[in-house]
Amino acid sequence: MKYLILCCALLSVQALFAASTNGDQSTKSYPARGVIEKIAPDLRQATIHHQTIPGYMMEMTMDFNLKNTNEISGISPNDEITFTLVVGQNDEWIENIHRVGRAVETTTNKIIRTSGLSGVMMMPELKSGDLLPDYVLKAEGGSQIHVSDYRGRALAFTFFYTRCPLPDYCPRMNNNFAQARKILLADASAPTNWQFLSISFDPEFDTPDVLKNYADVYRGDDASRWSFASAPTNVLADAAGHLDLMVMRQGNGLSHNLRTVVLDPQGRIYRQFDGNQWTPQELASVMRAAMQEQTGIAQ
């Protein structure tokens, strides 16, 4: 019986605790710090790049409402401030604003801090002339290859996976590569510093053997100037930002967009083909032009 009473007592104490944390319907306040980016003309809203607000949200840029517009008088963009974020049932606002300094202009690094992206650093999209990172891939023979292995040649690469069921997606990419390669091989007067590379984003299923068998269907007897490889997850994560590539595993399949890229002989982005509307003829002529770019490498 003693135990029973003890149990009851414990339970009631716990219930009391639960009530005091769960039952609180009023506002919550969070101390915060950040830099003012913009203040609305009516002084009712301020855009602030704030640091992580512990227990509430990560570093990001956000619009905050002001209930008392006097709070922001004397404060201007680029001021560093401390403030209190108040979160109510249906609204949130900031108050208790104090200017603590002036933000120092920092040199922009290669990473874009996209406002609002919950503090996520996003790799910038590469533009023409930007150097592609030297991705390391697993080639069809099982060996490792670097994209830089093809320096000195114009390189066209695209992404696919062998189980891709949609004819106008991955198979079309490889069919286009097959035809563009045929055009370039047939042109006796064209320079010969060029290469095609098909990259699978399904490294688990697309083992070197699977890739080799698949490749041979597209290449026929002649494997020259067209390699197949698979990309490990770290390469895919990087390419997602840099090349705007999207791949999502869903069951046995992948949902993805299509990205085909031509690099010049120095490994710089020469041209990007999005989607599936480009033709083998276009690719062949872009390759011819890319080959003419200064190689920068003694041949």
């Binding site: 609002g116 996520v120 705007d244 999207m246 999502m248 992948l254 299509l258 999005d274 989607g275």
Partner: protein, 232 residues
């Protein structure tokens, strides 16, 4: 002597049994009461959240933190500029898609199409599809995709634009990010792009529904009706 000892033992055992019974019954009663208390308090806190009962309803998923529709300027599939101001005062049903997504997106867009039907006579409801692949999803591409699902240009916006602007809107107002996802790679690392979000007339994100759940459309419509009644 032996019988005396036996009866003592029996008596002791009976006491033990009684104590055990009382203890078990007691803790059951208190356990049930305590669970109910917790449940009651939880459901008071999250009044809009359906209990995880054994029905097929798609439960509302609460936002990870308060989120609000931020200012934006994007382009819809007709090429028209759209800002948040034209959505003010409306219930918004928002999903995240890209037209080259062959597996899950069509299912989610299918739910959106059903929501459009279920809310036909509700002018205070607007549907918004945000592409996560603006480089591919130009207005023309989105127009074709929208037509495939019978999207009404006046009630269902498909928005595209600058990647940074779009991702700012999605990341701030709607989706958390997940940088450690080994099964998905996209520029903004958004988590749960299969969700359908419901925004109230004040621009507050009220919750998400799993867009892959077959009942999502009906549940979104119910949720909006509930919000409309509780917040006229």
């Amino acid at each position: 002597m032996s019988s005396k000892a036996g009866s003592k033992q029996r008596k002791g055992r009976n006491e033990e049994r009684l104590f055990a019974t009382v203890a078990i019954v007691g803790s059951l009663v208190f356990g049930a009461g305590f669970s109910w208390l917790l449940f009651a308090m939880n459901s008071r806190d999250e009044t809009q959240i359906a209990p995880a009962a054994a029905n097929s309803k798609a439960a509302v998923i609460a936002p990870d933190h308060p989120r609000q529709l931020v200012n934006f300027s994007l382009t819809d599939r007709t090429g028209r500029a759209v800002t948040q101001s034209e959505l003010a005062g409306k219930f918004l049903v928002v999903d995240f898609m890209f037209t080259s997504c062959s597996l899950t997106c069509p299912a989610v867009t299918g739910q959106m199409a059903q929501i459009q039907q279920l809310t036909t006579n509700q002018p205070d409801v607007e549907l918004v599809s945000l592409t996560v692949d603006p480089r591919d999803d130009t207005p023309a591409v989105l127009e074709k995709y929208g037509e495939r699902f019978g999207a009404d240009t006046n009630r269902w916006l498909f928005l595209t634009g600058d990647r940074t602007d779009l991702y700012n809107l999605i990341g701030t107002s709607f989706l958390a990010s997940d940088t450690n996802n080994e099964f998905g790679f996209m520029p903004g690392n958004f988590a749960h792009t299969e969700r359908i979000a419901v925004v109230d007339a004040h621009g507050h994100l009220r919750g998400y529904f799993d867009g892959l759940n077959q009942n999502a459309a009906a549940d979104v419509a119910d949720e909006i009706a509930k919000l409309r009644n509780s917040n006229p």
